[in-house]
Structures are given as structure tokens and as C-alpha cells.
Symmetry: C2
DNA sequence: ACCGAATGTTGCTAGCGCCAACATAGACCG
DNA sequence: CGGTCTATGTTGGCGCTAGCAACATTCGGT
């Protein structure tokens, strides 16, 4: 065995190749497999087959890695949401579909969902900026749907009353965020099959949307 | 009423006196002061001025202590809620007052609120039984208010439609739970003064209650 | 061909949760 | 009273973690 260091997958641009990505994937795998977000940085490094300190070349600290995972989570959730609303145009339908997709996404990977809201290592100040940015994108999408509904009369909201539009957006988000977490924590009785959850979230979201509908 | 063994806190019945209570109080103090729930058991012991292993005589492990703090949190929240609804009778008013009090409580002590939902050390299975019991009490209270409103016609819900009553309860809880967490995480813009939060939660809750009101 | 920067490794410190062995002070019983 | 039993608290240690520091390797540009 002379030299022949490696021939197969990577082509190894640097030492490892793309360690940053490998670390994120390892962490996500742990997340999906164990449903716990309190894994150690060293465990992630082990899974990626690097030394326990290699991650520090790509992430300032553990919290930064967790934040990066969260950001990836928002991207995945965005795609799920886009798929769920494909073909829909009525704001009420959009809102309901988005809500159901949101809950389904969170429930399908509880540990990831928690990371997306910075559930690990809560510093007194808020979430890391990277996460806040990703969250802002999602929030704006929701806000857009509410506003569209207000403008075309689907919802009983004056589109020029920005406070009320904002309150409705927050209410909608609160509703699905809360429902997702209560479901994850098994705080809603009922069985937890995917269809049962979909059914429940459908009822809850519909109840909310019904409240927005014009009275007449 | 035979014995009545103790009336004063100190008097030091055993080595320390009432270490269990002292540990809980130390932990709650850390929680309130630092707003973080990732403190160490050893730090709690230090603050109570006992050795790093003394807590294990009163709590099976760290998770048990965290659960006990959470239980105490539900009791405190229950009292707050009872105070908030004093004098009210109309279910819609009760629901709104309860919701506002709920959010205010959670926001006033974020770390405690998180502990109440087992945000630390997430085992794959659900929350510790002690917490589930305490949560059940709170949930039943909410359910009672919804049911009362359905029965006296305050809400557009058939009181015999248990599924719909249940869905409304879950929706109401989801709404305030989500709003509390979003506010804690500073995910709702607006300033975070107590009155601003009260105002926002009032709007959101009112928007929800309005959706429950009979149409005609 | 070489140098500097980027990347990865080894070894360390301080701290953690929890176990095991030991010490002490009440309670209980003669 | 004296003796023992048990609840409570302490000391010490194990294996783990996050992050720092110093060293080794590899790549990219000149």
C-alpha cells in the first residue's frame, strides 16, 4: 500500500472536503434519529469522523451550529409551504393550507422545530441574528397572505388598518406555533397519527379563519 | 389535628432544615435573575449552601428538580388566573381575561414558562408525569369556560358537539401559548413594555373570541 | 519552489451529572 | 438513658462536555 490516499467520493478540495456541510448533515441526522436537540458538539464531530475541535473552524461555537441548523429548517419549511399552496388562490384557502402544512412540518421533526426557535442555550438576549433573518422571511409571507385577504374582502379586516392586519398575522402565527408545540409535547389528547394531526389542525385553523370571515 | 409538628420554617428539624424547599427557591431565584433554564444542579446546591450531591437526597435527578419547579409554576399561574377573573361571569369576558393573564404571566418570567413545558432535556417520550398532572388541571379549567360559553349561547358552539368544544379549547390554548412564546422570543415587533404586551394580547384574544360569537 | 492562510489534530482546563463510600444527626425502642 | 436504624449531607471520583492553545498539514497564490 503505497500512498493512494483516497479515490472515491470527495475529491477532497481541502482536508476534509466540505466539513461544514458534513457537520450540518450529521447534526440533522442525530436530530431526526433521536428527536433530541441536546446532543454534544463532539458527537457531531465523531459522526463526521473528524476530531472534536474541527467544528470550531466552521462555527464560532455550538450555538452557531444550532442556529445554522435552524436556518436550514426554515428553508425546508418554506419549500413545504410553497408546495402546500400550489394552485390555491383564495386567501382563506391559502391561509388554511399554510397553517396545516406548518403544523405538519413541525410535528414531523419536533427537535428541528424547537431548534428553529432557539430552544437550546437561551441567552437573555433574543435569538441569533441568522435565525431572526430566516424567521423574518416566513413572517413576511404570512403577512402577505393576510393582507391580500384583507384587500380582496376575504377577511373582515380593513387593509389600511395596519395594526389590525398585524394583530391578525400575529394571531395566526401564534395559533399554529402553539398548536405545533402542544402537539409535539403530547398535550392534546387524541392519537398522534399524521392524519389525526392533520384533521385537528384543520379544525383549529378553520375555526380561526371562520372568525375572520365577513359577517354578512 | 394531633401533632402539628412544625409551624416555623427554620428550627432545623434535620441537618439543613427543609432542603427541598430551599433548593426549589434557589433554582427559582436563578431562573428569575438570569432568565436561563440551563443552570447546573451544582449551582443550585451552591446557592443553597450545601454540597454538590445533597440535592440527590430530594430529587432523583436534575430533570426531577426542573419538573418540580414547573409544577410550582402552574400553581402560581393558577392563582394569577383566578385573580384575573374575579368578579367576571360572562364566558367571553372570562376567556379574554384568562388569555391576557396567561400571556402576562409567561412573559413576566420566560425561563419559568419554558420550564413549565419541559423545555430542558427533551426525552423522546413526553413530559414528566408530575408536569402532565399540573397541566391537566389548567386545561380542564379552560375547557370548563369554553363549555360554559357553549351552553349559555355566548359562543357559536353546540355544547353537545364534544369534538368542536375540544377543538375550540385547543385553539384557545394554542393561541395564547404561541403568543406567549413568540413574545418571549421577541418575534413580534413592537416594544415589549408590560402594557404594550397587554394591549397586543388583548387584541389577539379579542379577535379570537369574536370568531366564536354567534353570527346573527 | 516557497510562503502564508486555511483547515484539522492533540492536549489541556474547568465544569458538569451522577455513582459510591463515608459521616452525622434525628427518631425509635429497650 | 443507651443503642441502633435510617434519613440526610459530605468527600471523592468517573466519564463526559465546551472551548482554548499549540502544533501539524495542505492548499492557493506568487
Amino acid at each position: 500500500m503505497a500512498k493512494l490516499k483516497q479515490l472515491e467520493p470527495p475529491a477532497s478540495p481541502y482536508h476534509h472536503g466540505d466539513l461544514r456541510r458534513a457537520l450540518l448533515e450529521s447534526a440533522q441526522a442525530i436530530l431526526a434519529e433521536t428527536s433530541r436537540w441536546d446532543f454534544s458538539l463532539r458527537e457531531v464531530a465523531r459522526r463526521a469522523e473528524v476530531s472534536h475541535n474541527a467544528p470550531y473552524r466552521h462555527f464560532a461555537d455550538k450555538e452557531a451550529l444550532l442556529a445554522a441548523i435552524g436556518v436550514a429548517g426554515y428553508e425546508a419549511m418554506g419549500e413545504r409551504g410553497a408546495g402546500a399552496v400550489a394552485g390555491l388562490t383564495a386567501p382563506a384557502d391559502l391561509l388554511a393550507a399554510l397553517g396545516k402544512a406548518y403544523v405538519a412540518f413541525g410535528v414531523s421533526n419536533p427537535a428541528l422545530y424547537r431548534l428553529m426557535f432557539g430552544q437550546a442555550l437561551p441567552s437573555v438576549e433574543g435569538l441569533p441574528p441568522a435565525l431572526l433573518d430566516a424567521i423574518g422571511v416566513a413572517r413576511n409571507q404570512l403577512h402577505g397572505v393576510i393582507l391580500a385577504g384583507a384587500q380582496n374582502g376575504s377577511f373582515d379586516i380593513d387593509p389600511n388598518d395596519t395594526a389590525r392586519v398585524g394583530a391578525a398575522s400575529i394571531a395566526a402565527w401564534s395559533l399554529v406555533h402553539g398548536l405545533t408545540l402542544l402537539t409535539i409535547d403530547r398535550l392534546v389528547e387524541r392519537d398522534t397519527g399524521a392524519e389525526a394531526i392533520d384533521d385537528l389542525s384543520g379544525q383549529v385553523v378553520e375555526l380561526f379563519v371562520a372568525g375572520l370571515r365577513p359577517k354578512g
